[in-house]
């Protein structure tokens, strides 16, 4: 089973991905191909948060 340290590490990487995707989305509002694909990445990141990040503080 997963240790708390593994989960913390996963959560850290999810935050990193989210930060990068948010930045990419912000800089691409005049670039539909990047903007829409980043929006989809962020939707997937949300699923990672539901599966890992949300559990971290309970």
């Amino acid at each position: 089973m997963y240790q708390e340290t593994d989960l913390k590490e996963m959560d850290k990487k999810i935050k990193t991905i989210k930060f990068a995707a948010d930045e990419l989305k912000e800089m691409s509002c005049k670039f539909p191909a990047v903007y829409r694909n980043t929006a989809r990445i962020l939707a997937s990141v949300k699923m990672l948060e539901i599966n890992i990040s949300d559990i971290m503080d309970v």
């Binding site: 089973m1 929006a39 890992i52």
Partner: protein
């Protein structure tokens, strides 16, 4: 990836109940605030009840949050923004999916989803399918007419997310679907129990193919309670030589429950993604102890565009007393969804659930898969007519079959029935939700 892994999410699905409760409370507060801040409809009903986001600190506080009924959603949809109304929490440009309810209980309700919601739909179906043994090695055939309803679209995307190969059986007719399953050696499929039984019948009687000889080893049923009714499950499993699992979800809620590989006689509530409360129909009290039936009030804890917060689903359920041997800590509801509050009706003063009739019909040999129940009044007295089909070659057993049927119905439902036998193939066949129960008393 290790395909032997038993759980889709080994942490969340085995989280101790006290931690699950903390998670649900945290997520309820979050979705409540989201709806309060972004939907005129939600803010309106909460302000009227005098509840603000910071007021929610416990499950007791949650129980005071106003419920939302389907009829309210229908009214909302006459307002802007078209066509969803003011329950919408995002701008129309963020909506990527339109679906509507099947309209079984009245005017269909329109449902908006963002792409994030759609990912969430696929995610919640991934929990369902993984628990039922779907793995990337599976070839999943979906014998369903994909259309405006959410049914099986999300199952399709959930299968893809897991890594299965998906074969969309869309507009093919039943024979073509059976041939495609045979040709491609599909290993799994999902559809309504009625249709799955109808497919088996077509394969056997019209094509000379024994469905059990095909390669299907698991079937997920949804849309009707059949796969949680033991006699119906048994018929499907025997016909296809496959394990049959139930799943219950709804357009306006999401994929909230699943039967796992252990087939524990009930469904797990996905308590990481949903909060299920059971409300006593008479007193309105929240029921936490097993064995007491009530109405399901459900919250989808992560749904964004059109939130589902304390939705009065009208589904009748009860908590199971035991934990599942699969190791999941998610609680079980015993026997799946037992019925709907608006389907369970009083006949001659006795509460009648249509699923109880199905259970009897499906366990009697010599009867076809289809049946129809009509409740009417003769003078001032309620009368129930049960239309059934006799299988070919069973004519000589008609009298004994009728006797068994009446005895079992009396035993299981405490009511008497007028039985009408029909020739095999006469009663309507359904692909989507079967409508086998007709109450004509209101028409008088």
């Amino acid at each position: 990836m290790n395909q032997d892994q038993r759980y889709w999410n080994p942490v969340l699905e085995t989280l101790p109940q006290e931690k699950l409760k903390k998670l649900q409370l945290k997520k309820f507060k979050r979705i409540f605030k989201w709806a309060y801040d972004n939907s005129k409809f939600h803010r309106g009903i909460y302000e009227k009840a005098g509840i603000k986001p910071d007021d929610i600190q416990s499950f007791e506080d949650i129980s005071h949050v106003p419920k939302v009924e389907k009829s309210m959603m229908r009214d909302i949809q006459r307002k802007d923004p078209f066509p969803y109304g003011d329950a919408l929490c995002v701008s129309l440009e963020d909506v990527t999916e339109f679906r509507q309810t099947s309209g079984t209980t009245g005017q269909p309700v329109y449902q908006a989803d963002t792409w994030q919601d759609w990912e969430w739909w696929a995610e919640s179906w991934s929990y369902v399918l993984w628990s039922q043994g779907y793995r990337p090695t599976d070839r999943v055939f979906i014998p369903f007419g994909y259309n405006i309803f959410v049914a099986f679209w999300a199952g399709h995307y959930g299968s893809e997310k897991i890594g299965c190969e998906v074969v969309p059986g869309g507009v093919l007719d039943t024979k073509a679907r059976i041939l495609k399953i045979q040709e491609l050696k599909a290993t799994a499929m999902m559809a309504t129990p009625t249709y799955i039984l109808g497919m088996a019948e077509t394969a056997k009687k019209k094509m000379g193919i024994d469905p059990a000889s095909l390669s299907i080893n698991k079937i997920t049923c949804a849309g009707e309670p059949g796969a949680s009714i033991p006699s119906t499950k048994k018929r499907i499993e025997e016909a296809w030589g496959a394990k049959v699992y139930d799943h219950v979800g709804a357009t306006e809620i999401g994929a909230w429950s699943y039967e796992c590989e252990e087939q524990p006689g009930g469904l797990h509530v996905n308590e990481g993604l949903f909060l299920v409360e059971i409300e006593d129909v008479e007193t309105g009290e929240i029921v936490n102890e097993p064995g007491r039936r009530g109405k399901m009030i459900i919250t989808a804890l992560d749904r964004q565009a059109q939130p589902c917060i304390r939705f009065d689903s009208k589904d009748i359920i009860e908590w199971a007393p035991e934990q599942c041997s699969c190791g999941r800590t998610y609680r079980l509801i015993k026997g799946g969804v037992i019925g709907r509050a608006d389907d369970i009706t009083k006949v001659k003063g006795v509460l009648l659930a249509p699923s109880a009739i199905e259970e009897v019909v499906r366990e009697i040999d010599g009867l076809g898969e289809e049946f129809e129940v009509v409740v009417d009044k003769v003078g001032d007295i309620d009368q129930i007519t049960l239309n059934v089909e006799l299988m070919p070659g069973m004519e000589k057993q008609r009298e004994s079959t009728e006797g068994r049927l009446k005895d079992q119905l009396r035993l299981k439902t405490n009511l008497g029935y007028n039985i009408i036998f029909h020739e095999y193939g006469i009663l309507p066949r359904y692909e989507v939700k079967a409508r086998r129960f007709k109450d004509l008393r209101k028409k008088h």
